[in-house]
Symmetry: C2
Subunit: 703 residues, 2 copies
């Protein structure tokens, strides 16, 4: 019985083969540690690229779920004592496997990885992750990068519901990328760039300096059209350096991979030159854009252009790279030349023009003479070895001596090339951290050129930021809807909000474009804060710290809970965590219950946000009666979607206008639909009476 | 150049091959004729079964579209002068091809088909259809049945929207049969039964005597379990007689088809015996259940059990069926016997045991002797014909004579069998009308046993009908939802409506089951009127002449029109055409516009139906304020869906209760969702004030 040892465990979070991985998507294995003070440690690594991130979550459980969702973790690693209802909660949101690991101290060999982490919570989280990796992988993890600590407060917070509602990285219906904001944006050329783009979309910035830096770069790249095109062309030749580094660490690259690495590296000086040529200061990118010159030279000197696929067949290293190898190759070459000369000489001497020297694996080298010519051969000149149907094969002592020499050389070459290749691979390993740094710089350039490309193609504008909490968008568009629709049909809309107009109350019939308008404001803010230009003619924005949405479309029914309960939970989430720097989108809150009940809740919510929070808020509603709130709530403004009648049909213009919507739109449509005259008249009377109720008095705004 | 003539045009409405056809679905080609008085002639035929129906539509254009939709016409035939906007309207609803035919007089050979039609409009409609068929088919249409005139008023009218909303034959989402009422019901055994079932579902009856007749039969079949099982078993052996008749007419049946026909026919006496055995008068079915005894005998006498697939290879007819054929077969048989005897004799005479007589296509019959035995053969005994590697083949004059005789017989047999088969097929043609009548009777039995089966399996009850316009349903269920859900989880509900309670106003939160409840009442009425039992413990119903629905789920957006416009068009359709014998389901009418506007329309609609129509109406709404209408509108009753709180979560019990729903459900949920206390308090104050408005005075009901 052969004792088999487990060599490696492949789990959903540690898949490395490209079949299981999408090029433009990270595969993060995520560990979660639950501390007694109800905080959570989070650490996640992509084994294929070596990235490792960690943070501590002090906020509500919701925030943990949000993070795990936006990481897109296919596998989470927790202690067996981890609350099962939390695992359940995560699993309700996404398909993920749960694995267990109890040990949280740092394995000695990973000291370097945690050297930047001071908090014990972070160390424990990373420790759990590393132990699990060590246990399952049982192989070199040299490419793991030092853990990077990030603070959630350093990026715009968008909760899980809102990410879905806004369709940032996947659509609500198909759950696919197509139709999402990410899909629209993705003009990246490299797989690394694609992955970084997703990370950026997931975490818009809140530091204005950092944002402006990206905008500057995008603007420059737009202006420098030809340089940008050149950059795109160069990027096309750059291989996935991050994942390549991972494979080098695991020891499963072949000579062809390293040739691709060389080819990628040889683009870097050109790429760097292009970036330097840009009329803008670019130190951060340029500093990281390490050409790894020695590595390029090494690879250039060592490997031929088209090495064999297998590393055990020779034919990889260049002549002149290694003296001994050259000697063996010389010997082989000399032997072969000698044989070629022998053939020529013997032809001349025997006068048999068809005499030839051949080789096969069984008999080695032989001289072959066709039967018709055998009579011309002097008896005893060669030793007969094999008889074929129409030829005889011979050998000579000298030929066999040379054969031994050639074959011995061959054997030595193959062995030596393999040895040299392994050595080369080890040498490449040393460069892993530098390659990873380079990969980051390349990805960044790629995402920035992507922003420039999309911004130019779709006529986006550079937004400016203001400190007065103003939202001034002229002719704004919904980026995805605009792309999907015929451009000529799309109707742009302005958005004007400032300290006097904190809230927009939007009225108008169903399907007239209220949700699209609300989403477009949020997407514009997100685009601006990830560093991209925005779909508008002009835009001045505040920096939003958080975005909250409650939009009806996402009927992701959680088992057993009523839709209205979900609606209220999302509303609560918004009003508890929103600040005056946040953006809130509420779409028809309250419609799931009876009228006055829903209307009362809607009004209370509006008042609460207006008086206590002051967040920028877009609130769409069918409660037309709420439009009179603008008398009491100073910062509330009414807008509506305009509707016209054409040939007896109702046509939506998708244009937002000031003031409340037409109060009797419904009755008007009923008239167009030719409902009985007396019914219409009666409806009008009822409406008038409902309207004439002394409303403002009893439903006055709370002091 | 060969001149090619068009032999047949295959159009979407005339596909005959089974690949293009679903067994359980008719493929109706439909002609529409537009008359000057704005009425429409409609005629439709299924070429595969020979059915032909015709009617005149006096109602609104809508009704025409409804009919074409419920026919499921894949192709319509109209004059070139037919209004193009009407074609457009039809095409918006369904995938259909439009073809043109101007001639409307009746082709002479079809006199018999229209002999029952008196109205010229009907004749013209059928004429157009027949001309188009003649033009495209260019072959025998002998199986077309005499046109059957039907009046739309003889069945319950359900408009297109409602058919979709109620998912009678296809679901809203997938547009497939699965999940529809038809899918639930379909326990038919034969394809003919399946097609008839769909026709019945599309046209529920309104004549109580006819309905009761079906119920009697269903009840009997439920009670006579074993007889019913026997009937099901027998039906399994019955081939699709209708389509078979069509193929006989077209001359593309082979002997195997006719054997299947024989097999089917041989079941009929047993089937008839079973039906006769039922303790119920069944004249109408029994009269049509024509055993076609002579045809059975003819087929029995003529065809063997397993005839060849091709009709040009013989091996179809029985021995004894035809004297000349028997003679040829005898000759062939005798010849073969003679040869067998020759072999035996020659073995004995020559002493060569391995001597054998063989046959091949080139040399015909021969005697074969192996080389080893040739020496034993007396010289000159046979004539040598062919030399093989290890044998010699010989012939004799006698052998060749017999060979000629056998081959001539063979040739004659094949020709004669083909001739006899064609004759037989012509004879079968004569029976087409009788087979079609039989098919109808068999289909009817099949659908009735299907009703009995489903009613027994799912514990349905026989409904009774009353003349007092009462709807008394105890523990009613939604037939499809109940099947899809776990039976234990389903919550049945009562429905009580009479002259004092014409309208039910249903309040309660979203997703709590209001729509399901409303649909269940409509489906119960439809099941009752197609002759099936109903999913309830007890049910007494009126006969409904029409059903109208406006249910939100069917967001089939018609290009350019607003959802609210569609809503109003559907509402108009209901209130213009409904009578006091109709059933109306209105689900949240008005929610697409602003509150008071929608509320005013909803109230006006309720009042209009209450005062002017008196139709049985189920009206669900979020306008809780409408619940006070019960004070003024005598025949309006409030009901609601009950909701309870369990462990801080809202749980729907799906149970309907009397009275209006909890006014502050929304605020209560908001409390459970832990919205800030002060917000809740404020919402309660607003609600109280909204509620305390002196409403009943100004919004009093119209006199």
């Amino acid at each position: 019985v052969v004792k088999r040892e487990v060599v490696q465990l492949i789990t959903p979070g540690t898949v490395m083969e490209t079949k299981g991985l999408s090029d433009k998507q990270n595969n993060f294995l995520t560990s979660i540690t639950h501390f007694e003070d109800e905080t959570f440690g989070l650490a996640y690594a992509d084994l294929s690229t070596g990235e490792l991130h960690t943070t501590v979550i002090n906020g509500p459980v919701q925030q943990l779920v949000n993070e795990v969702y936006s990481i897109g973790a296919k596998e989470i690693v927790v202690s067996e004592k981890f609350p099962p209802d939390l695992v359940q909660m995560i699993k309700e949101r996404m398909v993920t496997t749960c694995s267990y690991e109890e040990v949280t101290d740092i394995p000695m060999e990973f000291d370097q990885i945690v050297k930047n982490l001071e908090q014990e919570k972070l160390q424990m989280s990373v420790g759990r992750l590393l132990h699990y990796l060590k246990k399952t992988q049982k192989r070199s993890l040299d490419h793991l990068q030092p853990a990077r600590f990030f603070e959630l407060d350093q990026s715009m917070k968008i909760d899980l519901f809102s990410k879905r509602n806004l369709e940032l990285t996947e659509t609500i219906r198909s759950k696919g990328k197509k139709g999402s904001l990410l899909w629209l944006l993705d003009q990246t050329v490299t797989a690394m760039g694609g992955r970084l783009l997703k990370q950026w979309v997931d975490r818009p910035l809140i530091n204005p300096a950092l944002i402006e830096q990206r905008h500057d770069m995008v603007e420059t790249l737009i202006n420098e059209y030809f340089t940008r095109q050149e950059i795109r062309e160069l990027l096309k030749e750059v291989y996935d350096l991050e994942r390549l580094a991972g494979r080098v660490a695991f020891g499963n690259v072949n000579a062809r991979d390293l040739v691709q690495l060389r080819k990628s590296l040889s683009q870097i000086p050109h790429l760097k030159a292009m970036v330097e040529k840009l009329p803008i200061e670019n130190a951060s990118i340029l500093d990281n854009m390490d050409e790894c010159e020695e590595l390029t030279t090494l690879l250039h000197d060592s490997l031929i252009e088209q090495p064999s696929l297998s590393v055990k067949e020779g034919n990889m290293m260049k002549d002149g790279f290694h003296e001994e190898l050259d000697k063996y190759r010389d010997a082989r070459r000399n032997g072969k030349t000698w044989i070629a000369e022998l053939e020529k000489r013997e032809r001349d001497l025997t006068g048999i023009r068809s005499l030839k020297i051949g080789y096969n694996r069984i008999f080695g080298y032989y001289i072959e003479i066709t039967k018709a010519n055998i009579s011309s051969l002097p008896e005893g000149r060669y030793e007969r070895k094999q008889t074929l149907a129409n030829a005889e094969r011979y050998i000579t002592e000298e030929l066999k001596e040379k054969e031994t020499l050639i074959l011995e050389a061959e054997e030595k070459i193959v062995a030596l090339e393999y040895e040299l290749f392994l050595k080369l691979r080890e040498e490449v390993k040393v460069y892993i951290p530098r390659l990873q740094k380079l990969a980051k710089a390349v990805s960044e350039i790629d995402v920035l050129q992507c922003f420039a490309t999309i911004s130019e193609d779709r006529y986006y504008t550079r937004p400016s930021f203001n400190d007065e909490r103003k939202v001034y968008i002229t002719e704004g568009r919904h980026p995805v809807v605009e792309k999907v629709m015929d451009a000529n049909e799309y109707v742009p809309n302005d958005t004007w909000m400032d300290k006097e107009n904190e809230m927009l109350l939007i009225t108008g019939p169903n399907m007239s474009g209220k949700s699209t308008y609300m989403r477009q404001v949020a997407l514009t803010a997100i685009l601006a804060q990830i560093g991209c230009f925005v779909p508008a003619k002009e835009a001045s924005l505040p920096i939003f710290d958080q975005i909250f949405t409650r939009i009806g479309a996402a009927d992701d029914l959680i088992s057993g809970q009523s839709t209205f309960m979900v609606e209220m939970l999302e509303a609560r989430n918004a009003i508890v965590y929103a600040t005056q720097n946040s953006l809130i989108l509420f779409d028809e809150i309250g419609r799931g219950t009876s009228t006055y009940d829903g209307m009362a809740l809607a009004q209370a919510l509006i008042e609460y946000i207006h008086d206590k929070i002051g967040a920028k808020t877009l609130f769409s509603t069918h409660y037309h009666e709420l439009t009179s709130l603008d008398e009491e709530l100073k910062k509330l403004k009414n807008i509506h979607v305009s509707v016209v009648e054409q040939n007896g049909k109702v046509v939506f213009l998708h244009k937002m206008k000031e003031g409340p919507a037409d109060k009797s739109y419904g009755i008007h449509v009923a008239e167009l639909a030719e409902l009985p005259k007396e019914l219409i008249t009666r409806a009008q009377i009822i409406l008038e009476k409902l309207e004439s109720q002394p409303k403002s008095e009893p439903v006055e705004v709370a002091a």
